[in-house]
Symmetry: D3
Subunit: 126 residues, 6 copies
């Protein structure tokens, strides 16, 4: 079995607070979120790739733009959800999946670091 991936990273800087039994994380605080997006495919074509990395970067930038320099709890897409790193990772993947899936890729994985020592990821295979 063989698998290719392409991946990019980006950052956004936002405030948030959690609801529930999360101790100090229930206070308003913030993170420099680091995001990694991986796209998976079984093969590359004659151009040497299966998805243009410049296009992927532009798409991720569009998805992150409404989150950047914001309080995530006030972003309408997160209304009614707890803005954990898991939820943020899934949100980014869902936003990217429509356009990326149209290219016939096999999977997508988004990892979100809240700090240099804590992260969450969400992956879907199609």
């Amino acid at each position: 079995m063989q698998t290719f991936e392409i991946g990019i990273t980006a950052e956004f800087e936002s405030a948030h607070s959690l609801t529930g039994d999360f101790g100090p994380a229930t206070r308003l605080h913030g993170h420099t979120y680091k995001v990694e997006v991986r796209v998976e495919a079984r093969d590359i074509d004659s151009t040497g790739t299966f998805y243009d990395i410049g296009r992927l970067r532009a798409e991720l930038s569009s998805v992150l733009q409404p989150l950047h320099y914001r309080n995530l709890n006030e972003v309408s897409e997160f209304t009614g959800t707890n803005t954990t790193a898991e939820v943020v990772a899934r949100y980014i993947l869902k936003e990217m999946a429509d356009v990326v899936r149209a290219s016939g890729v096999d999977g997508l994985k988004v990892t979100v670091w809240e700090s240099s020592s804590a992260f969450a990821s969400y992956r879907e295979t199609f």
Copy 2:
């Protein structure tokens, strides 16, 4: 198919030496070990997570505490084994698995870096 992960990293600073055909690594030396623990699950609950990352951090800290600032070859848990990064990764995973598995997670992966350019990992799916 979908998968969530949460992960944390930590460091410990220990001496060790290998036995067998490992050249200079058979001399007493040491490493700043960097450890990454990933916990896998198929879904998150209504709190937006499947395992509290603060609890995971405390558990990893308990597991690493007896290794930190030690000669691994003199730590009783490693008696009779070669303290390769693979063995250290498996040891950490086994120590964490009991408590983490009780939460119904689907997998656990521990990666151990001996330097910025060499690492080993051990993963179990349940």
Copy 3:
């Protein structure tokens, strides 16, 4: 001329917003702040150091604790100031200077990263 330094790094995760002509940074957002503290001295003593690094770490931890998981704009020490990285760096240095200067050191420098690509520092020599 010869100079020794010892240094440590730490992180804290906070929200803030700026006042004035700072565009999107005037919205409530947040950062995983990375902090580096350097202490300078002309010489080391017979113990091989001039300041215990464990003590320095504990002191920095005490200074950062009231900022961690907070909105900096609501921390009383920053009342009436704009919470730029420069101001945060100077605040941390001033908090540490009293105890550190008592040890006869020659300088102190604090660097604060708001992201992987933006930082500010403040240094005082005594």
Copy 4:
């Protein structure tokens, strides 16, 4: 199910240009390529490993040596192919697979970073 991995990283510094619809990347430019090689196996033996990491490092070094300080477009192995990161990752894996597979390992993965924010990987399981 359980899996072990060992991994190493290395760098090489080369020029290249792409052919096709890749915008500025069709101009002659270059990268400090960072390479990570992971070898997978289901178990370790009584020495505490399944593949000597020093040997892996020497093998990777041999594979990268003809690419280092070169224009990849002029390296004969890439004649007739587009030197995307995907193609470079697959090339490195194929070069290493013969010797590594002889040891009975279960998989091999090569990741190639062209910058701190863009990478591609290729993985084969045997």
Copy 5:
């Protein structure tokens, strides 16, 4: 004595080759250049800074744009010079100095990494 700095980092990806007694570096090769720019001043004003970091980022971006995805040896600004990291650092500083000096800052430092383990810097105080 007190000093403030603000700093930013950026990357550009270029080919080049050296002239003279530099062994393999005389062959056409390339780097993912990482650039750090530090601006120094003795004090901050009532806004909490002495130079807008967003403006600094835009200025650095303008300076790097003609170097990005290029062969440095074919960039007219480097005609007749050897494109060492020292020369590239000095070039970037000189390009930025005119506009930055007009703000009354006290110094400027540019560091250029050719790889994760090799760099050069150039600093001017005014």
Copy 6:
């Protein structure tokens, strides 16, 4: 005033223990030491540099080789001294200074990281 620097980094992996009032650091333990060497000069010559970085790398490698995969407390050069990071940094600088100073450079700085969050440096200007 203007200053150039060139710098390189390297790693070595060693055991050691401290003597005196250093708590757990008095137990035998170890580190992946990261070393950075900076050489300073006021100007570059017509080759675009003031010291060949390949030569610097070879010299640092020679200095680190007797420390790598060793217990520093058993290395004869450290007999009678406490192997703090400050002492290790000064030792490396002194070993490199003879050959480097012969080239007419103006300063030398060595930084030694014991972990990702703790370091010491020693600098001499000539």
